[in-house]
Symmetry: C2
Subunit: 600 residues, 2 copies
């Protein structure tokens, strides 16, 4: 039967065959998460996603209702939220101390792939709640944790992230919301925030807002920003929501997609006092945000990926059903065939498959790094893995969401004219996916993070460690007959890439900062392609020895080899061209003057 | 002042400096269209577009209203249509015999760029009317011309194109609508058509439908399809619209964009007789359609291009206004600058500029080929130019609409989070543009047309002539100091490309049909990039000697050189990588079996 949202066979392959997550059970922390338990978790997640969330996707497109400061989420969201909370899914990977289930993150990624792929706008409320809860857990006082944490991780109360202001988007140093010290350990906030996802809604009885703001005597710029916690309703002594705290929703945005998620403008303290407590240290708000940002960015990557995965399955299923035109080599008068048999359709499906599967491996691998950090007792190893994750984060956020949008775009193309019609699911997946390239740091900013920070941080050690992981897969693959030629190809590309990366790492120091950053996005793209090739070669190396052993799996394993071949033999040459363009280094973009762009 | 829709300076550059359209005045037919007249025409078109059409763009997004078989277009369309018809713009390039103004098509492209860039969904009604009118003009009897043609070309009556059926999309051979001979020179149509743009609306007092259908005794497949003409209202003896002709609109589609254009399902003859006359010869309907299709496809390319051009200007203007973050090399504490000064933003704007300007040149050049055909008395030259246009058509339709979508996507990215908000114009331009990659033959089909037909037709002569045009620009550019290095780069790429094209031309004959078509789309992309490089190098060669002559034009001409440099030095290496991938020829897509795609 045709699958929906995500390919279960491939999920199992990544978890059990590629990443071997059962190895985690050797550690006490994950000892309960053997193969059977994992399979059960993934099945439960799939059931919940298919039954409760997927039916919300189409109605969610109708959007939220704004009326007099209040926001109604699409019908059906409440019921799905009940089911989601009942299964305690929000805290599936969290500390049992706060009601979490202590599940490995690698497994959590699989569950989340189903949830986000079913209805991304519904899940965004949960993503934000979880992120806000992690801020409270990491930086909160005992009192703050006591007041908020369990209610948030159980999904009873929601959370947000109040960063952006009209003049402070990419540049958070420009935040101008003010926090006045009330002298009693609380602060009064005054300011305006925009683009606040889930800033107001009727899904939960309270909403907890982490807010970036400035103390009145704070230094200018980024070093004068603190983090505060302002609930929608002040919390009574008995822990119940009390008085309204004057976080006023002044409107919601009409967007291109993701309509089920309310995107709010909020006025803090304009209509009456908005009381907040300090979260973490004074003037250290940005540091706190950055600490959480890697994880938030990894989740945005998952958001994009989940839509790409869903779009791929819709496209494959449609291509199997849709009959149109005879085969190119069939004799005149032959019957029309399913379009999955036409070479250009197959090419597009292979594009989608390559990226969906390469990204699935990358995202689960990111989860596994977290898991290995969690169970490691070796500080050096912990640092190695967490800085590896930092290196991979701009790829997971920036490269992945770029490619996810492209995959969704192919999904539409496979549907032909029907792809443009909203009755079919692929147009919405594309529209919904467009925001992932923008929020949580635009993808341009991700590329600057990769080139300007991640490439060189800690003396380049983390980046070197990343390259070693790639090299290891290449080396192992060279010993497997069927994939050795691909490993050779990748190795020769890899050598060129490594040389380029070293060259770029030294460019900013040599005074060519602007020239270097004229190539930051192309460099992210090349690096992302390398990561895809790494993951797909790894997959092929795992699959190759298994071909022919079980008949029902033969096509799947052969598909793994073919996908790697497709990527390495027909996509990687393009990447090499891009690499060559960077190496040539004609930084026209850096020297181009305003007037030369025309339009005046 | 910031310009809207299209860059007038660049339009003038292409018309007067690159293509030198005034040369057309040497011919009697175009003797009235000197530079002053052309400039006046373009200015008038711009005024009309900015004043009457641009204000429709946002309201058009609300869509059409369907009620009981009737379709209401968005408010304001009627008024704009009056102004458009009053200026006799629909027939601007047509034969004066039928009310046309006999303007060169190259100039018409400039006017249309403004119109379509202002409100594509409004203009689509006109595009269809014009296409239908050309069918009547080319294949109609005197009586048919008398009855319909002037009313259509004046915009009083609209036209459509009834091709697609639920099971006949890309494969028109599957058309099943039946035409019964009434024995009196008329036919009764019975069938269902879908995805009919402008199939029903209240913009005009009558709608004339060319319909693909089968005579009852027609042979199967493509050779049994005839073309008919069925008006919405039968025409009275006095030429006025009479009785309803049972072309019944059963619904309109809810789409991803282009909402102002009604996309209709039509039932012919289900509720009563639908009378039609034969247009052209029996069973030769497809041949007639194909004859018109090149021009229709060129217009779809213009549709995509116009949105890309509009998106580029919005993005440049926004990037000049939006202030965010200090410059990368500015000292700590410096003020934030306009984002047009950040290298990654400039890179994206240059991407947009390269394609918008390269495509503008291509599209106007296409118009100029038509013009030169129209005034040539040399049959060999006529054939050379018209087959050159046939070669370029899949590029103008397929490559251009692919790239236009990408340009619109960059437009959103430049706006940051605002790009996702519908209050700003760039999201709609992207959504509206998505259909251009699908209708009038999907872009996959365009690529198959290029590789399977255009590359080899007439013994490869037209393709060779195309290559000669590119070579000529390269040779001339090598004599211009400032652009010679770029010409050298392009020449070396060009040699590789030519070799590859020859190789591909022979592949199908050598029995590797499916393998070849697994690379048809990449080949279209590589060819399109070559065309862009050709056009941009041509521009740079024209601009270079003029630098410094007029101060106010210096930035513009320098921008021409920089844009060519950007494309040839940083994009063409990627193209070369793609070319390399095709040359390697690992046709995984051709051998991939259904089951290997997974998802079951």
């Amino acid at each position: 039967m045709a699958q929906l949202i995500a390919d279960r066979r491939d999920i199992d392959f990544v978890l059990h065959e590629q990443l071997e997550v059962e190895n985690l059970t050797k550690a006490e922390k994950f000892s309960e998460f053997g193969k059977k338990t994992i399979d059960l978790i993934v099945s439960e997640a799939r059931n919940l996603a298919v039954k409760e969330m997927l039916p919300l996707q189409k109605p969610s497109d109708e959007g939220c209702e704004f009326n007099n400061g209040e926001v109604k989420v699409p019908e059906g969201f409440h019921k799905a939220m009940e089911a989601y909370n009942e299964g305690e899914w929000l805290a599936m990977t969290d500390d049992p101390q706060w009601g979490g289930q202590g599940m490995p993150k690698s497994v959590g990624m699989a569950a989340n792939e189903y949830f986000y792929g079913a209805c991304n706008s519904f899940m965004l409320y949960n993503l934000l709640t979880h992120g806000a809860a992690k801020l409270v857990e990491t930086f909160g006082t005992d009192a703050q944790k006591e007041t908020y944490l369990k209610n948030m991780l159980s999904g009873k109360w929601a959370g947000t992230m109040l960063l952006t202001e009209p003049d402070a988007g990419s540049d958070l140093a420009a935040v101008s919301t003010i926090a006045k010290d009330n002298g009693d350990g609380t602060y009064s906030l005054e300011g305006n925030k925009i683009f606040i996802s889930g800033g107001e809604h009727n899904l939960t009885e309270n909403i907890i807002h982490p807010v970036l703001a400035r103390l009145e005597d704070a230094p200018e710029g980024i070093k004068g920003i603190s983090l505060f916690l302002a609930p929608k309703f002040l919390v009574n002594e008995d822990g119940t929501p009390g008085e309204f705290n004057n976080v006023v929703c002044t409107g919601i945005e009409e967007k291109m997609g993701l309509h089920g998620s309310s995107t709010c403008s909020l006025e803090l303290g304009g209509k009456g006092q908005c009381t907040a407590t300090l979260l973490g240290e004074k003037n250290k708000g940005m540091a706190a945000m950055f600490l959480m940002m890697n994880e938030a960015r990894q989740m945005v990557g998952l958001q994009g990926f989940a839509n790409a995965s869903a779009s791929y399955l819709y496209a494959v299923n449609y291509a199997r059903e849709r009959v149109q035109s005879k085969g190119l080599t069939d004799p005149v008068g032959s019957k029309a065939i399913s379009i999955i048999n036409h070479p250009d359709v197959k090419r597009q499906l292979l594009m989608m498959k390559s990226w969906v599967e390469g990204i699935r491996s990358l995202i689960y691998y990111g989860g596994l790094c977290h898991d290995r950090i969690a169970i490691s007792s070796d500080d050096a190893e912990k640092k190695q893995l967490s800085t590896l994750l930092e290196v991979l984060t701009p790829i997971i956020k920036g490269y992945v969401t770029d490619k996810a949008f492209e995959v969704c775009n192919h999904g539409i193309q496979i549907y032909g004219g029907y792809g443009f019609i909203e009755e079919f699911p692929v147009a919405q997946l594309l529209r919904d996916s467009r925001i992932f390239m923008l929020y949580e740091g635009t993808n341009g900013i991700q590329s600057m993070d990769l080139m300007g920070r991640k490439l060189t941080m800690y003396n380049g050690e983390p980046f070197k460690y990343f390259l070693e992981q790639v090299q290891r897969v290449i080396s192992v693959s060279k010993t497997v007959d069927e994939v050795a030629p691909m490993a050779d190809s990748l190795e020769s590309f890899f050598a060129e890439y490594t040389e380029l990366a070293q060259h770029l790492a030294h460019m900013p120091q040599s005074g060519k900062v602007l020239d270097a950053f004229a190539f930051s996005h192309p460099f992210m793209e090349v690096t992302g392609d390398l990561v895809m090739a790494w993951m797909l070669l790894w997959r092929a190396g795992v699959a190759a020895p298994k071909i022919g052993k079980k008949k029902k799996d033969t096509a799947f394993y052969q598909g793994q080899i073919q996908t790697a071949r497709f990527f390495i033999n027909t996509i990687l040459p393009i990447t090499r061209g891009r690499l060559d363009a960077i190496r040539r280094g004609d930084a026209v973009a850096a020297e181009m003057e305003d007037a030369a762009f025309g339009g005046k």
